[in-house]
Amino acid sequence: MHQKFDDLGRFADPSLLILTSLADGPRHGYAIMTDIAAFSGVKMEPGTLYGALTRLERRGWVRPLPADDRRRPYEITEPGRAVLTEQLASMARIVTVGHRRIAPA
């Protein structure tokens, strides 16, 4: 249904963070960076942010909204939300298995 998330290459991890940031509402670039830093501790730089945003927009997973005084907000699309849900489910499975395996016997 969707292009594989892994096709994003080195932008896969930043893209996951961006989609997570946009999941609860539109944000512009700087707001995305500060939100990501707040919920993940990752200090994303502008080059990485826009490298990932470019690819997410091209795949139709985020869409730009009208600019507000040069700052352009982005919002997650339905396909983007589906991809994010799929990725988070995959990560949740990894977390579950990982916790089970590192737990003391």
């Binding site: 512009h28 670039g29 700087y30 960076m33 730089e45 502008p46 080059g47 990485t48 942010l49 826009y50 490298g51 945003l53 470019t54 091209r58 600019a67 005084d69 040069r70 700052r71 352009r72």
Partner: protein
Amino acid sequence: MSGLADRLARLMVSCYPRRWRRRYRQELLALLDEHPSSPRTVANLALGAVGTHLDPAYRREGITMSGPGGPLRTTAAVAGLAVGLVVVVGGLLALDIRHEQQTDGALTASYAMGIAVSPNTRLGVTAQGTGLGGAGCCDLVWRIGAHPKLLAKFPGAAPLAFAYGGQTVLAASLTGVTEWSLADPARPARIATMPGPGPAQGIAYAPDHTMVAVAYAKAVHLWNLANPAAPHRIAIIPAAANTAAPGYSSVQDQIAFSPDGRTLATTAAHHAVSLWDVSTPWAPRHLATVGRDTGPMAALAFSPAGSQLAYLGQNGKLTVFNLTDPAHLVHAAIPGSPATLVTWGNYALSYSPSGTQLTAVVVIEETGGDRRICTWNVTSVSQPLAAHCRADNFPTAGAFTFTSNRTAIVGPDPRGANKLSNTLSIWPTLPG
């Protein structure tokens, strides 16, 4: 971080493919206005530019770098760009430290004499020192946020006023006022000049954005700004000089438009205030002269409904006029203030959005230049006004202003001998 890192970061943006820049450049530059740039930012953008050139969606534009050729030649060109960027970035960053030291030294000699904040509170402009052939330097453009950042400087002085929703700033020049475009805040561009008999002493922008009043020593000039690129003068109103106390170096905020733009308040003889009907701007009509002997003016403000006018004298006395009954006025002294406020620096006066609270930032000379924030309940001016003041441990020099929503006071922070003009500070929410 440094201004040089900011400039390098912007340079890196211009290295992205042209088609990419057409789509993303403005919003990325807007982001850089808010993001403190570091060498990491510059390197990240350089790698981003190289990566975008290698992106199949943009690779065709590699031809502009490599000339006609196959993929190998394009790749080689991009690799060359990468190496070049690394060399340029590395070399310029090596110069960065020296550049920073020079900037600090130059700015240490001055402090802010004026400040203006854009209506959306994202940008501020400060006037450093006298700026016009004196000890000052220039006007500085700041991005206001959690981490205020210096973006650019341009030749100008106080007073200052924002116009056109923050896209334009008006700044005093040697012979009047100059309009500067801040469409790209990192690159202020001169739009037009409004000549006058000398440096402007006060600037007030009409609420409908079509007119500006510029105060000089003996007159106020009204300019039509419907076409920002071609302002034209429409009237001259006689006014008295706002005689500064000895050594008092700033005479700003001496003119103000009422919220409906129909009334202009100017200084009059004997430290009184003249009210002018400017609803027909080319034929201003004198309405009344109110108050007197309240001392040279430090600040002036209309209430949001336009029913009151507040005047803060350099003698530390606040006067509130009820404009429906100008003969009736109420004085209030700032508790604990001496006969005069300090003879330098600036003061700010602002009504709360509801018009029930009036707040002033004042500087008390006898206590070593301490600043105080005083608030008066001005629901009724029929009774003596009781002030609620609190001392604030904020800087003793520089300019102050209230943002449009009163969520902050913004002023250059001179704390630290070597950082005198390099920091902009934001104060907490005001009462009311």
